[in-house]
Amino acid sequence: MTAVIEFHGVTRRDGDVVRLDALDLTVCEGEVLALLGHNGAGKTTTMKLILGLLSPSEGSISVLGGAPDGAHAETLRRRLGYLPENVSFYEPLSGREVLEFFARLKRVDRRQVDELLEQVGLGAAAKRRVKTYSKGMRQRLGLAQALLGEPRLLLLDEPTTGLDPAATRDFYDTVRRLRERGCTVLLSSHVLPGVEPYIDRALILGGGRRLALGSLETLRAEAALPTTIRARGRLEGADWQRLWSESRIQARPLNGHEVALSVPADAKLAVLRHLTAHPGVEDVELLPPTLEHLYTHFSAGLAPHERGDAQ
């Protein structure tokens, strides 16, 4: 696995404000990495550093084999795609004209323009002016723009804002196809349940610092969050809390015929065995901690001013 992005102790300061604090990060080819964090956590700063729009105050960055803010930028920029968070394209132009403009700037074959418009589902609206586009259509146009020239690295800042569920699914299908071709994808998102199935690893940032980095399994192991087990059936009368000798297992009856158990990972099987042996239990549901739980867990240690909209 070749490293596409390498951060070594990267710090970025704007005056007295530390935007990013000694970040170490390696992203390999064909990986999908999610950047998660509150507003002002350093997500956009990280992207701008990768794009070479900002230079690090300390430390070094290498993207596709060179520093993105130096002479390497010219070659680098032809091989990466970027979708900024808030972008409104030239409204008097049509969707196709906008894309043709960007294709020419990137020196990409213009036949790709129509293909990409089809691919993001704007084929029918290609001749309409961007002014008449909905938020979702603009977002898809932005995505088409980022995909120009078959980039090796894709940076997507909040790519699914404004997309309906079907379009979101289409979007992640596109991401998966790109990844199969060996494209590396970095995406930041607030919509945590949406990204979970599609990412390889997540980087959780808070107050400019790296709070956690790893695959969902790694993060789960690191956080050691309890799994929730829900049991349903004829459960009246049983004192669930007293059934477990361990205090680590928390039982919470939801109603007369349902109970939620909070169970540490290593006790999971023991509890399951116990439940299956119980005559009243009809159904058991296993709910491992989601990305959202992990995110809450890892950002819990932050001071309030770091967690809020500190800009």
Binding site: K48, L51, G52, L53, L54, E74, T75, R77, R78, L80, Y82, P84, E85, N86, V87, S88, F89, Y90, P92, L93, E97, F101, F102, R104, L105, K106, R107, Q145
Partner: protein, 274 residues
């Protein structure tokens, strides 16, 4: 180079689409024809009077209008793209910042240039066809000089608009500053110079040289200094009739005036954080 042409082409197409080119052409053509026809209205006459009067009136009109149009056309060139988020995107494309600004300048310059040439050109043709006893050679030369100097003047103020646009971070502020620049160069400078002229009792040989500090004065000198008839209209420029103040010297000076703000804008843009 390709990137510059791409950017210029897009800017020009924007100008065509949101009717900038059409509007500027029409305004200039209508006003120019109007001035040519009603130029004698003050003295009770109607119809075309003399070429000199017409050209002087046209130049006086252009000196107010062209800078205003140029500033309005281009004040949001950079800050507007920044507000809509496309600037950030453009900076991640394989295009240098210098090329970005030069491409836009070329596009805006083409919009203003073609509209001015067309507008005044139409007026010139109308005068040639409609007025009696006009020496066509003189008309062509006078109109040609007016068009060339107007276009240069427009480019100077586009460059000023860019300098404003790369300096501020809000569109509204850029618009305000553009009006201030127009006010200073077109109105205040003149008044200040006039006051100075009146207050300096003797030895004011250096005063005419102050005219070179303002591109609109250069424009006036180019178009007015050649005409006897212009003396009574202009007052100020009459102090500057000397060997150095010929169009052949003044035109390059006006062109140089456009490079100064453009160069500063480029410097600023390259060191501006994204």
């Amino acid at each position: 180079m390709n990137a510059i042409l791409t950017l210029a082409g897009k800017e020009f197409r924007d100008g065509m689409r949101n009717r900038w080119v059409l509007a500027i052409t029409l305004v200039l053509a209508l006003l120019a024809v109007g001035i040519a026809w009603f130029g004698a209205a003050a003295s009770g006459g109607l119809g075309f009077t003399s070429l000199a009067t017409t050209l002087v009136s046209l130049a006086t009109l252009a000196v107010f209008l062209i800078p205003l149009i140029a500033l309005l056309l281009a004040y949001d060139a950079v800050v507007g793209e920044q507000e809509s988020g496309t600037l950030l995107l453009l900076l991640t494309y394989p295009v240098s910042r210098t090329a970005l600004l030069l491409g836009k300048f070329l596009g805006h310059g083409l919009i203003l240039g073609s509209a001015t040439a067309l507008g005044f050109g139409i007026a010139g043709v109308v005068i040639a066809l409609g007025a009696e006893g006009v020496a066509l050679g003189e008309l062509a030369a006078g109109m040609g000089l007016l068009i060339v100097s107007s276009v240069l003047l427009g480019w100077v103020f586009i460059a000023f608009a860019y300098l404003i646009s790369v300096w501020v971070s809000e569109k509204a502020r850029a618009a305000g500053l553009a009006l201030v620049v127009w006010f200073l160069f077109v109105l205040v400078f003149d008044l200040g110079l006039l006051a100075l002229l009146v207050s300096v009792k003797q030895g004011g040989d250096w005063l005419p040289w102050l005219l070179l500090l303002n591109p609109t004065e250069l424009f006036r000198l180019i178009n007015l200094a050649g005409f006897e008839a212009a003396r009574s209209y202009t007052g100020l420029t009459s102090i500057a009739v000397g060997g150095a103040f010929r169009p052949a010297v003044l035109l390059p000076l006006l062109a140089a005036w456009c490079l100064v703000p453009l160069g500063l804008a480029l410097l600023r843009f390259r060191h501006r954080s994204a």
